[in-house]
């Protein structure tokens, strides 16, 4: 049994996402699809799953073309997909999510809940995917949610399973268990496509590697005969420096001091639970950890976007725990938010308007009552030039820029002054390698200028590359502290925290 995508082309308005792509997967084979953000991998898989229709090209199983107009068609053809952003309804139970669309019912459409639970337990025990059918999805840790997604796919008797960036939300140990599951699926005769931008993992698990770049397949490799450097170069089109070059840090005074901080999340649970640490001028402290362990709430509390329930935050000795975002900003703090489209930018504003979002109320942009748009444009022009933002003009709506350029606008805005503290949350999520290099360089430059830098990232590679000191966050607390010589394994262990307890759900 073989699945083939032949000559797939997909044109969106103004963008050619897939350009005559060929891909083949056989039963019992694991193919890794590599490419950086925007290379067209997800588009390709969405076509395979019936969410998009290709502009031209075909999908075939054993030479027979398939008509995939909706996910229902793909499911019927035996194609299953585990999405990067889980397709789970948070307020439903595990069982409800798994049976959705194919529910066991009694008369009149009445749900047969006990049969549903049974189905879940059957699959769960067969593949070693431990879940509680009656647990609410929103209460489950991410690693367990992923298991639910996998069970969903298996229930529909998929013969080909596509995993879209499955390990981005897992700790290193969870990644290992995940690979075990994948291997057992392979042993069961399933064909697997594994989409990733994580080179090391692809090399470890795949039988074959396909590299995509700018919508085209550029190479097909045998993992045994290649390495990370070659793959990276193929992904980007030029030799890529995977290492961030920075000098030894020379930390001086304490700039940021967090003491016994307690912060509640939106559901009134302790997201940050008695956390303490310091960041000094001239050093980069990285907070590693899988998303959902309180990092978001921590940054919000430090920057004044969320009130802390207890504890103290100090900037250069001053207690700023209850200060507003504006007050914190005025104390020379730069904040690159983790969700650039939600918090960092106003998408319907122009580049100019976004650039002045933090200076609109001060001279020279305004005189207290009225805006000086000429001055604003001058500023925008200067920053666009300095920070290499690719945009047709400063009057372009920022929604039209690519992710990397949007992030550069934010970085330009935040870094354009002398700051004593930089907080960057997921600074390079979802952007192209070129922009990543640029932004990393800016961060290191700020450190060398004497700022204290706090990085929060769920990409362990990024944290390890940038940080002088690494803190691991788990369950709202610091689970480990490491310096530049630590290995990924050591840090990964710390990311477990008391994982044994939380997995028993």
């Amino acid at each position: 049994m073989e699945l083939e995508l032949k000559g797939i082309t997909k044109q969106f308005a103004g963008v050619l996402a897939n350009d005559d792509v060929d891909l083949r997967v056989a039963e019992g084979e694991i193919v890794a699809l590599l490419g950086e953000n925007g290379a067209g991998k997800t588009t390709l898989m969405n076509i395979l799953y019936g969410l998009y229709t290709p502009t031209s090209g075909q999908v075939l199983i054993d030479g027979e073309p398939l008509e995939l107009l909706s996910p229902a068609d793909a499911i019927a053809a035996g194609i299953g997909m585990v999405h990067q952003h889980f397709m789970l309804v948070p307020v439903f139970t595990v069982a409800e999510n798994i049976v959705l669309g194919d529910e066991p019912t009694k008369k009149l459409g009445w749900l047969d809940k006990s049969r549903g639970r049974r189905v879940v337990r059957e699959i769960s025990s067969r593949y070693g995917l431990d879940v509680d059918p009656d647990a609410l999805i929103e209460d489950l840790p991410v690693g367990v949610q992923q298991r639910v997604e996998i069970i969903k796919v298996l229930k529909r008797e998929a013969r080909f399973v596509v995993f879209d960036e499955p390990t981005s939300v897992l700790t290193p140990t969870e990644v290992e268990s995940f690979f075990e599951v994948v291997r057992s699926l392979k042993a069961d005769g399933k064909g697997i496509i594994f989409i990733s931008h994580k080179l090391g993992e692809a090399l470890e698990i795949a039988d074959r590697i396909v590299v995509m770049r700018r919508g085209m397949t550029v190479a097909e490799l045998d993992p045994a005969e290649t390495d990370e450097e070659q793959c990276a170069e193929l992904m980007v089109g030029r030799p890529v420096d995977l290492v961030v070059h920075k000098e030894e840090a020379r930390p001086t005074d304490v700039v940021l001091s967090v003491e016994h901080l307690v912060v509640l999340d939106d559901r009134n649970r302790r997201a940050v639970d008695d956390l303490s640490f310091e960041v000094r001028a001239g050093e980069i402290v990285g907070i590693a950890g899988v998303q959902g362990n309180g990092q978001t709430e921590l940054v919000q509390a430090i920057t004044g976007l969320r009130s802390a329930l207890g504890g103290v935050v100090r900037l250069r000795g001053e207690d700023v725990t209850i200060k507003s975002p504006r007050d914190i900003h005025k104390r020379d703090v730069a904040h690159v938010p983790e969700d650039r489209q939600k918090s960092g930018l106003v998408l319907q504003f122009t580049v100019t308007e976004n650039v002045i979002m933090d200076t609109y109320y001060e001279a020279p942009i305004s005189n207290g009552i009225q805006m000086d748009w000429d001055a604003a444009r001058q500023q925008a022009l200067r920053l666009v030039d300095e920070y290499d933002v690719r945009t047709p003009s400063v009057d372009t709506l920022v929604s039209k820029l690519s992710g990397g350029n949007q992030q550069k606008v934010i970085v330009a805005r935040e870094f354009d002054r002398d700051v004593s503290l930089v907080i960057a949350s997921q600074p390079t999520r979802g952007i192209d390698v070129g922009s990543i290099e640029h932004i990393h360089g800016r961060i290191v430059a700020k450190r060398d200028d004497g700022a204290a830098v706090l990085i929060v990232s769920s990409e362990l590679d990024e944290v390890m590359a940038l940080s002088d000191r690494i803190l691991v966050m788990f369950g709202g607390r610091i689970a480990g502290e490491f310096d530049g010589s630590a290995t990924a394994t050591e840090i990964g262990l710390a990311m477990l925290g008391s994982q044994g307890e939380s997995e028993a759900s």
């Binding site: 904040h335 939600k342 106003v346 308007e353 609109y360 305004s366 009552i369 009225q370």
Partner: protein
Amino acid sequence: MTDSGPPPERRPSDPSARKREARITGVGTSLRRAVVIPALAVLTALIIGGVIIALTDLDTLSVWGSDPMEALRLTLSGVGNAYKALLIGSVGSPRALTETLYAATPLILAGLAVAVGFQAGLFNIGVNGQMHIGGMAALWVGFSVALPGIIHIPLAIVAAMIGGAIWAGIAGLLKARTGAHEVITTIMLNFIALYLVDYVLTTSAFQAPGRNDPLSKPINPSAQFPTLGDFRVNIGFLIALAAVGFVWWLLYRSIIGFQFRAVGFNPDGGRYAGMNVAWVYVGVMAISGALAGVAGTTQVLGLEPYRGISGFAGTLGFDAIALALLGRSHPIGVLFAGLLFGALRAGGREMQGAAGIPVDLVLVLQALVIVFIAAPELVRAIYRIKTPEEETGVTISTGWGG
């Protein structure tokens, strides 16, 4: 988002021309595009209105059975008469023109009130109630004191602005503190205001002596809006024009307006940038309410018999929403939309008098216009126009808040 750069732009290449364009109509739209759809919307609405007129002409309907040709002639002439009356009543004579301006005045002001709200992402459906409260405040100043007109009128207007601002501010405060959605709160406040006005008009402080019904004392002549000669149009229109200018300056030149628009597009982004979103909501509603209050004064200080009566705001609140949508929430757009609707009203009265068509048809026409404005694809589908890339219709709401 991919890396191949943004799609090619279809706008004038000369940067200063683009800048000028952006200033007039608001960033992101071209002048032509901003006018074509509304114009077509109005045209389509008129056509459908004609159909409704024809279908509800009970007398003529019965003739279809016996003599179709005659019935067709009667129908067409009926519709023709109606629209001819509409035209005559609105622009057919100098008097008609002044009637149009006169009718447009409160509409423009009320439309500005709603437009300001929309720009900040808020639905102010409560213009009716704010007009009532503001109008009552102006009324009270009108008959309580006697000052030279130069002082008396501005004083009354300020009172109206304060009244309207407070009434709207309640909804703004509720939204800021509790997340209560302003659609429901403002509508509820409308009803409350209506009854409050009814009550107040029967108190001894307000009620005309010797009357039992809700009718207020007359205001002092010094508070009446001076009219232009023999016509009904008065300085209210000039006030409306001034308001247009003010709102334009507020939204596109002032710091406050920048915050309004930022929060309107993305409250999270605004919060992150240090803006106090709660205060923005209150401020927007207050300014919106103040404008509505001024609209209320036109019904009290600028209208015979210069007294307050029950429900004097009429349907102006809803018309204002239509205006704001038609004008795409831009002050200049609201001005033109207000003139248009003023023409419809002035003409509508003539239509009722001369051709016997109830003036409520104008309401129907307005509603149709909004439908087409809010769904540009609908108009495009009817007239086979291509969709430009940015256009996706007007989207403001994202749920109940809280």
